[in-house]
């Protein structure tokens, strides 16, 4: 089948290109640095953050554990990961246009729609593998270095404790959500890539859009508040919802529950709609595009 053949070729090209591994290196270095920082000074850092609680509660056990480390790392990395994703997704079409291989491919008996869908699927595979790599480093290696215990999550107005037996599935779900969020970024980079003749434009374009939307999300102004629910950046951090636990009438946590599952699912749905819309628009534009590069 033409589609699976194209996906295989595009995946092969991504992983044979040395540039692809920049992102993997960056993730490993950043995660390693955070782990090193917390390994040396983490206890001091945490005791400073928990000093008000220590007066009221008797905190026992391994607070600085692999689960907490993974949460901290994800908070840092998932904000910066879009750049690494758009580095490849934004290059998928425009990069080939700039080096001239796009016109060579299109002289072969390949449907433009299938080629584009194959390329997006390959970009999705890359995104998935990158997140898997990040999960391995942020969760797997952190668990090895810092061990495991119940997970404490500090928020501005509350502290949540998640039993260690109740954590792992939440991470699996959070990574699943993160894949959808990063695929939205990939779809955006991909869409811009269809218009451009070099990869810098789509990469910069994707990042600029994310920055502008994030600023609109941050500013608590009525004019933006009306738009914000429709912006994909408002939903990209929805993965954190998997770490909010429902409580019962006695204010006891319900193991295996999510406080606001509909909100998490709505966010995932909006992101998926963005992916479909951007991909559809990319196909329409690419099918009509004159290859002048």
């Amino acid at each position: 089948m033409q589609y699976s053949r194209i996906v295989n070729i595009e995946v092969y090209k991504i992983f044979r290109n040395p540039r692809t591994y920049i992102a993997f290196l960056v993730v490993a270095v950043v995660v390693g640095l955070i782990q090193l920082g917390f390994y040396t000074d983490g206890k001091t850092y945490l005791s400073f953050g928990l000093r008000s609680l220590s007066d009221t509660f008797d905190l026992k056990g391994k607070i600085l554990n692999g689960y907490l480390m993974a949460f901290i790392i994800l908070q840092v990395l998932l904000v910066n990961l879009p750049l690494l994703v758009s580095l490849v997704a934004g290059d998928m079409v425009s990069g080939e246009a700039s080096i001239g291989t796009l016109r060579l491919i299109l002289t072969k008996p390949v449907s433009r729609t299938v080629l584009l869908l194959g390329k997006f699927t390959a970009a999705s595979v890359y995104t998935f593998v990158l997140l898997l790599w990040m999960a391995l480093w942020s969760l797997g290696i952190s668990m090895l270095i810092f061990g495991v215990d119940d997970m404490l999550i500090l928020k501005s107005d509350m502290i949540t404790q998640i039993l260690s037996s109740d954590v792992m599935w939440r991470y699996v779900a959070a990574f699943g959500f993160a894949i959808i969020a990063m695929l939205t970024v990939a779809a955006l980079g991909f869409f811009l890539s269809v218009f451009a003749e070099n990869s810098l434009g789509p990469i910069m374009g994707s990042m600029s859009i994310i920055i502008v939307f994030t600023i609109m999300n941050t500013l608590d102004l009525p004019i933006f508040n009306r738009i914000n629910p429709f912006l994909f950046t408002s939903h990209m951090l929805g993965w954190k919802g998997f770490f909010d636990i429902k409580v019962d009438a006695n204010n006891e946590q319900i193991v295996g529950s999510i406080e606001n599952l509909p909100a998490v699912l709505t966010s995932a749905g909006i992101l998926i709609l963005h992916i479909i819309a951007l991909l559809w628009a990319s196909v329409i534009v690419f099918k009509r595009k004159d290859i002048l590069s």
Binding site: R16, I99, I105, T107, D290, I291
Partner: protein, 303 residues
């Protein structure tokens, strides 16, 4: 007929790149597509390959419309458009394998090596393309174009940027593809001498319009030539010719020479006449009239 193009036009905004162009290519021939840079050759070739959509007109290849039957046509067509851009981080072998897969083929190592041998690259098959010379890239580009054994090969300026040896290699390769492999080859160039040496038929276009189309042997008829006569006093030579039988053949006078259209067989007679009239002849150079026309287009473009 392998290619039938009728009233093809392409506009980019208000600029007309290809203007009501019609031509046909028959099976098994080498078809030269000649025009100066910017004449509309590459745009036409891109339309033949469905890389660009025509504004109007029709293109039929193997009797099918390139718009409606693009994939069927491309299954039987190979092309190198402008310079052959390949994946520099892959070897020639890997590029061949990749592009054969794009064509829906799964070629064996032996078959790929055999195809690389056709373009003389079997010894460098596993070197990365980034270390290849321009000539080697061009040959590899042609191998990639032929990887699915097409009936029609379209090469856009295949000798651009090559050294003399590279140009000879590509020329021989095109001739071999036509004579031995029985392929139909369309080759564009801005050099008449290139087309003259390899093509059976040719089309000259200028500013997107067809100037002339026909068999090379007929268009470049060696009987008719244009003479560039250099004398010690070109103005006097012109006056003498104007007052003679040769007046109707006089084309123009430039700072350096007098231009006269003539049959090749008449050159000795004309030379004798000028000498008899006391004109101090410095030299006579004969060029084919079509070549002269093409050179005039080129010089016009240069101005």
């Amino acid at each position: 007929m392998h290619i039938q193009v009728d009233h093809l036009t392409k506009n980019f905004g208000s600029f007309t790149s290809v203007d009501d162009l019609s031509f046909s290519v028959t099976e098994g021939e080498v078809y030269g597509f000649l025009g100066q840079n910017g004449a509309g050759k590459s745009t036409t070739i891109r339309m033949l390959l469905s890389l660009i959509k025509p504004t109007s007109g029709s293109i039929k290849i193997f009797g099918e419309s390139i718009i409606e039957d693009r994939e069927n046509i491309l299954q039987r067509t190979g092309a190198v458009v402008e310079k052959p851009d390949l994946y520099k981080y892959l070897s020639a072998f890997e590029n061949m394998k990749l592009f054969s897969q794009y064509s829906g083929l799964s070629l064996s190592k032996t078959e790929i090596m055999r195809q690389l041998a056709v373009v003389g690259l079997e010894g460098r098959a596993h070197d990365k393309v980034k270390v290849y010379s321009q000539g080697m890239k061009q040959r590899l580009g042609i191998a990639v174009a032929m990887v699915h054994n097409p009936d029609l090969i379209i090469l856009d300026e295949p000798t651009n940027g090559l050294d003399p040896q590279g140009i000879t290699d590509i020329r021989n390769l095109i001739l071999m593809l036509s004579r031995e492999k029985k392929k139909t080859v369309v080759v564009s160039s801005h050099l008449l001498s290139e087309v003259e040496q390899i093509a059976d038929s040719m089309l000259i276009i200028n500013r997107g319009k067809k100037i002339v189309e026909g068999k090379v042997s007929e268009l470049l008829n060696p009987g008719k030539v244009q003479l560039e006569i250099e004398t010690l006093d070109n103005a006097t030579a012109k006056e003498i010719l104007m007052a003679s039988f040769w007046s109707s053949s006089l084309v123009n006078t430039t700072k350096d020479c007098v231009l006269v259209d003539a049959e090749r067989s008449m050159i000795p007679e004309l030379t004798k006449y000028l000498v008899d009239q006391g004109v101090g002849l410095v030299g006579i150079k004969s060029v084919n009239s079509l070549e002269a026309y093409f050179l005039s287009l080129t010089s016009e473009h240069a101005v």
